[in-house]
């Protein structure tokens, strides 16, 4: 099993829909080998010394391309990056040869402990400089470029002086990274802060985007104000599907991930959502194809 992987090169993530890989679905995927373009995992869940998760991932990687979506680097933290964590990430990259590697525009490390939830950045020139240095350091360590994902957030800091979408694009431009555009996060943040979704998306250069994320969110009522909370615990909502459709109609299809992290459904439900996204992608590429004829 190890030999097969050692001999393989990074399989590119194809222009198809993929799914977040969850332990409760390992068995179904190995038995049914569903027609899914690729899988994505949080590398931090595979940083044990050994054990079944690594063997399952090795088995599934033999049949599918993989994307590593890190949640633990804490790119926006005032503290230095953790070299041991970067080395663990590098070891997983070497072992599993992912087609894509991504991390969040966020931080989780303010003291010696970790929040494990993605915390909001302050959008200033100071924090932009810092995050660019940290992205550089990750890319240098891995010897590859990574994609940076736009966050979902629930509050804004008074000190912020750069619009989020400008900060997001600029962080990638200055570090040579690509962008992971999470359309649900755009919708959640814009809705929570009263920003324009159209302006946000228009500020993101399409040629820098290497992957799209879609997920569900929940709605909390704060004294009559709706707050959207990005909990990845329900199907993608209609508004986000609509935004996704217009985005790929305007710009062309991109590898698209369906993400679930809580209330994880049976595999058949996840699979149906992945097929649904791929339907949109197919229709887009057909119309592109017709246009070129």
């Amino acid at each position: 099993m190890k030999e097969t992987l050692a001999n393989s090169v990074a399989a590119p993530v194809p222009l198809r829909a993929g799914a977040g890989l969850k332990p409760k679905h390992y068995q179904a995927i190995i038995e049914q080998r569903p027609d899914i373009g690729w899988f994505e995992v949080h590398p931090e869940n595979y940083m044990g010394r050994g054990g079944p998760p690594l063997s399952y991932l090795e088995r599934i990687r033999m049949d599918y391309p993989l994307s590593l979506h890190s949640v633990g680097t804490s790119l926006g933290s005032h503290l230095p990056l953790d070299v041991a964590h970067l080395n663990n990430l590098k070891a997983l990259v070497e072992r599993f040869q992912p087609g894509l590697i991504s991390e969040h525009l966020s931080w989780s490390h303010g003291y010696e402990w970790y929040t494990h939830d993605l915390m909001p950045l302050i959008y200033t020139e100071e924090s932009l400089k810092l995050i660019v240095e940290h992205i550089d350091q990750v890319q240098e360590c891995l010897g590859r470029t990574i994609l940076i994902e736009n966050p979902s957030s629930y509050l804004q800091f008074k000190q912020s002086e750069i619009p989020e979408q400008v900060f997001y694009v600029e962080a990638a431009k200055r570090s040579g990274a690509g962008l992971l555009l999470d359309i649900n996060n755009v919708f959640v943040s814009c809705s929570n802060h009263g920003w324009s979704v159209e302006e946000y998306i228009a500020a993101v250069p399409h040629e820098m985007v290497g992957e799209i994320h879609l997920a569900g969110h929940s709605i909390q009522d704060l004294q009559g104000t709706r707050l959207r909370v990005d909990d990845h615990g329900s199907p993608v909502c209609a508004e986000v599907w609509q935004l996704y459709q217009s985005y790929i109609n305007a710009n062309g299809a991109l590898p698209t991930l369906i993400e679930w992290d809580s209330n994880i459904p049976e595999f058949t439900e996840l699979y149906a959502e992945v097929r649904f996204a791929e339907e949109f992608m197919n229709r887009t590429s057909e119309s592109c194809h017709e246009a070129t004829l």
């Binding site: 869940n45 050994g50 063997s55 931080w107 402990w113 970790y114 509050l155």
Partner: protein, 261 residues
């Protein structure tokens, strides 16, 4: 303007605190009258996400205490001992000691040892994958060499000795088990948690077997470990132990340095 470090630390103080965030912190948030509620989404996520990781590791403790009490204790634990690692795989290492120190739980004295068993389960699950001892390796040894052998238990092995029947308690609270009453008069139990290959195994063993395995794990020879085991438990039977455990994945493959000179 506050430096980034100060703001992020202030934010972390607010996340971890059981008290509402300081006015100083709330004053840094864009004012729409909902600063407190907006911050509390993060404060709540922090204890819920990390508390969920604890619940995944301690399903039996959760079942014994009930979901509501477990959530309260998990929240207190997350605030007292926030994650020190970027991966959450082994988060909750101090939960057993934490439970033992909660005065309201003094009526459930077995709880901490059950928690130790559950932590051992997850630690074994993520432990190194190491080849287990095979018959061909032992067949090649002379009886003298066997006595001086430093037989290494599998690195996933954890030994737990309790004054309470934690094996029965753990077993009765697995999915699909019938409700049953366990009497604390059953007495103590010795438990070995180990993952030779894919599945984690939880085994109840005799006091002598536990002492024998602990001595071997400490690097003693079979001869010395046997002496320790018999001191602990006069009924320890080495032949019966090996007949059952020599090739069941309890031990690693022999290394060259496995024998003494």
């Amino acid at each position: 303007m506050k430096p980034l470090s100060e703001l992020q630390q202030m934010f972390c103080d607010g996340l971890r605190s059981s008290a509402p965030p300081s006015t100083l912190l709330l004053n840094e948030i864009v004012d729409d009258g909902l600063q407190l509620e907006r911050f509390n989404v993060y404060r709540n996520n922090f204890v819920v996400l990390n508390g969920d990781a604890l619940a995944d590791m301690y399903p039996v403790i959760k079942r014994l205490l009930g979901a509501e009490a477990f959530r309260l204790l998990a929240t207190a634990y997350v605030r007292d001992y926030p994650p020190m690692d970027r991966a959450l795989l082994l988060y909750g290492e101090r939960f057993a000691d934490f439970l033992a120190a909660v005065p309201e739980l003094s009526g459930l004295p077995y709880l901490a040892d059950v928690a130790r068993l559950e932590f051992a389960w997850t630690a074994a699950y993520h432990a190194d994958d190491v080849a287990v001892l095979g018959q061909h390796q032992v067949a090649a040894l002379s009886p003298d060499a066997l006595e001086n052998l430093r037989l290494q238990p599998h690195p996933s092995m954890h030994c737990i000795s309790s004054d309470y029947p934690i094996y029965s308690i753990w077993l009765a609270n697995q999915d699909g088990q019938m409700e049953e009453t366990i009497s604390l008069d059953e007495g103590g139990s010795q438990v070995v948690v180990i993952r030779p290959k894919v599945e984690v195994e939880v085994r109840e063993v005799s006091p002598g077997s536990l002492a024998f395995l602990q001595s071997l794990a400490f690097g003693e020879t079979i001869g010395t470990a046997y002496t320790r085991a018999v001191e602990m438990d006069a009924e320890f039977d080495l032949h019966a132990f090996f007949a059952r455990h020599l090739f069941d994945g309890t031990f690693c493959e022999l290394q060259n340095q496995g024998t003494t000179d």
